[in-house]
Each structure stands twice: as structure tokens, then as C-alpha cells.
Amino acid sequence: MATRYLILEDGTAYQGKAFGSRATTTGKIIVNSNMLGYQEIITNPIYHDQIIVFTQPSIGNIGINHKSYESISTSIKGVVTHEYSDISTNRLSKLSLDDFLKQRNIPGISGIDTRELAHHLRKHGAMKASLVDVADQHAFDQLNATVLTNQQVSQVATPKPYPNPGTGLNIIVIDFGLKHGILKQLSERHCDTIVLPWNVDSKNILDLDPDGIILSTGPGSPYDLPKSVLKMIQNVQKRVPLFAMGLGHELFALANHASLYQLKIDYHNSSHPIKEIITNHVLYASQNQEYSVDNQSIQNSNLIVTYRDLVNRTIQGLRHRDYPAFSVQFSPDGGPGPTDSVDLYDEFLENISSNMNKRSSRNDEF
């Protein structure tokens, strides 16, 4: 295997071996410490334009299978691992990770001390990185001159509406870069789903008369989206039960006058215990976050904190005081990771049923 380099914005260079494509790419470098599920991670649109460092030391050993896609298109900029394994033993696998990355023109690099690299990034914060053939001054200059996009959502989210038919409740999913896991969970619950582009306005949503609305996960910063998105959330949450996740959760918080702060380094893991405050239950979930809701700002908002990370005390869930609208920072459908909190989808559908009963008896409201 050919020699390749991973170079960082701060001047650090790591030498390794190439796998996947030989393209030269630049993106934000992030660390993912999940022990499993590299295919879900690689195909999740929240990693758009990012170079993913896996701290799990061996990547590639289950190949690629048809069941683990979180999106069919991939838009990551690279895979960094300690060891690339091309012996895949998963019975579903028809494709090796190496071939998959080659097909999609995504470069990989192995032989990197990824735990050391993770420490380095945690110490120095988020930064840009490139995968290159030669780590010379020219490569560093190019890296430093590259401006990364802040329009990730419009690059990965669907530009057109599409249906995911079912026989049950009418659910509208607002796509900020959704992973398939969300649609799978709705399908399992027989929902008749319509996916709408992220920039749809509230009138178009409400004209479709949804029973409930989901704000999906997605890449990037909620501050890079136009204010019209917040206006849309403010309008729909009054009328229809709402469930927001990930980027959707951050937007839901902003729409209700909470504020966010950026974490020093993006957090991608599933090993933090999260407490559901109302029951004291502890669960684990797939967490991907770059921002966190500011504790102080909750006091001026109309929100209640419902979930909290027990390691770093960050807010992991919110609920509106006046409407059946709630959100979680984490991904309840796993993909990859624990599915302890997957019944949040049931909670959402039960909110809808309860809301429907109330609507039908609204005339005798006191």
C-alpha cells in the first residue's frame, strides 16, 4: 500500500498507508469513538465534508452491507484508522470497505495512532485537515487556504419532497440531512410519511395537514441556517406535535429563545450515560454534537430540560411548556449505537393520539 499523509491545520503531519481512493481531500477532522457501526457513520450525512478518525482500532472487518446505510450517497472526505482490515466476515457483506471508498472516491489512511491523534485534537480543538500524497509546505499552504463550506444542510438535504408511504399517522419529516434510521423507525410504526426540504415554510407544511412533525438530524451549525427556519418551527409547534433530534433539537432550542454554545471539540460517541430527569432512568444513545444548549438560557425560555448527560452535564433533551413539542440532542434510533431511547418515537406518536383526542373535544374546553 502506498504511503499517504494526514496533515492538520496546526502543522502536524501523520504518515500512514493508503486505502480507498487516492484523492486529495480537505475537510474538518473529527473523532468518532464508537466501537461499532463504521458503515452507518460513513454514510450519515451529519459527517458531510468531514474526515472521520475512528478510535476503534480496526476498521473494515465487516465490509459494507445493504442494511446499514444511513444514506445512499456519501459525502465524507476521508477515513482515518489505526488498522484497515480487508478480511470481512459479515454474512451480509458483498463489498469491502476499500472497494466502497474507491467507488465513491473517498480516501482512507491506516497505520495512524488514532488514540494519540484523538488526544491531540481534544487538546487543540476542532481543525481542518487534508489527506495528501506529500506533506510538504505546498500541501500545508493549500490546506490553510481552503475555506470549508457552512452550507452543509443545503448540500445534503433533499431539494424535493418525497413520500415514504404507510397506512398510519401522517408524519412530515423536515429534512436537514436525515439519516435513514428516522424513516425506518417511522416505517416500523406504519406511519405515512412525507419528507420535505429544510427550507419549506410553515404554510406549506400545515396545508398538508400533518398529524405530527419531525425535525431531522443534520450537519453543521444551526446558526448557519436562515432565521426563516426558526420562524417555521415557531409556527408549526403551536399547531402540531413536534419531535426534533440533533440539528433539529438545536434549531428547536433557538426557536424557543434558548441559546447554544460551541463545544471545544465535536463529540461523537455513545458511551456517556444520559439521565431522563422525569424518571431518573439512565440510558445510552448515539451522540453527535458540535453545539450544546446553554443552561442559563433555559430560564428565559419556555422550555423544560428533560435529559441530561451525566458526564459533562450538557442538556440532552428539551420539552416545550405550552405545546406537545420535545427534542433530544442524541439520536434515539442508534445507527450506530444503543437503541435504549428508541421508544421516544412511541412517545411522539402517543403525543399525537392524545393531541387528536383533545382536538376532537376542543369545543368543550374550559
Binding site: I278, I304, R319, R321, N351, S354, N357
Partner: protein, 177 residues
Amino acid sequence: MENIVINKMAMQRALTRITYEIIEKNKGVNNLVIIGIKTRGVFLAKRIANRLEKLENVKIPVASIDVTNYRDDIEHDKQSPKKVSVTNDNISVEKKNVILVDDVLYTGRTVRAALSAILELGRPRTIHLAVLVDRGHRELPIRADFVGKNIPSSQSEKIRVLMKEIDGKDLVEIIKN
């Protein structure tokens, strides 16, 4: 034949949702008093109060009420005075927002009896009704404000609510005769 209609997780979710709905409706938890109808309504009331306390960091007064003497479907000894037995003697319902809690809403006669009993204690600002199961077949014009689950049932069926505090497990089942 037995048929589980609410399992442990679903019961927890129902109580959680009812708790949030109480906050929505009452615009907070101020002035709230929760009264459970004996026996399982009391455990439900305590669980809801416990959830509200965790969320809002305030103590919510809980009382239990025994409405046997107010039932109109039970033959009473005409001589014995009607007596409301409220366990928490310090409780006052005057100008409060009362949440009345029971496990199953059926004919509405138990709730009617509980309303009479509460109104005899004072004049609450509002009374709302929360039930885990609404099985229909009302005989009085009564409806619940917060419902865990609507279970349309036939009158020949029995709905059995089990709670951990007294039965060792949480579930609701339909028993068909």
C-alpha cells in the same frame, strides 16, 4: 383469555406524557394538588407528583380519597353519615388546581363520587381528571382531561390494572370472559 394492552414501558410513557400535559394545561405547577382515588389511583397520583417534583423542584401535595361512602351504586346504611376519608389531613383544596387521578374511567360513577367528596372539602379553582385507561361506557356526563390510553372495550370484558406498588408489576390487561 388475557391480553396485555399496556406494558411496563408504555405505562411509564403514559404517566410521563400526562405529567407534561399537566404542566402544559396548568401553565406550570403552582397551586397544584393531586388527589388519587383509592387504591391504584393513589399510586398513580404519587408517581405523577414524583415526576412533577423532579422536573420543577417543588413539593406537590398529594392526598388519597376513599369514595366508598359517596358511591350511588352501593346500598348505604341510611343512618351512617357520609364521611370523606382523605389521608392527608393538612391538604386544602380551596382555590387550588386539583388533579384527580384514577386508574380506569368506566361509568363515571366513581369520579362523580370523588367530585362530590372534593367539593365538600372546599372550593377548588379547577378540577381536572387524569386516568390511565379510558374504556368508554359512560353513564354520567364525565370525561377525562388527561388519558394514558383509550381502550375501547366491550362491557363483558374486564380491564385489570396492575401496579408495582401493590401487584409487583406494571401492566394493564383485558380479560375476556
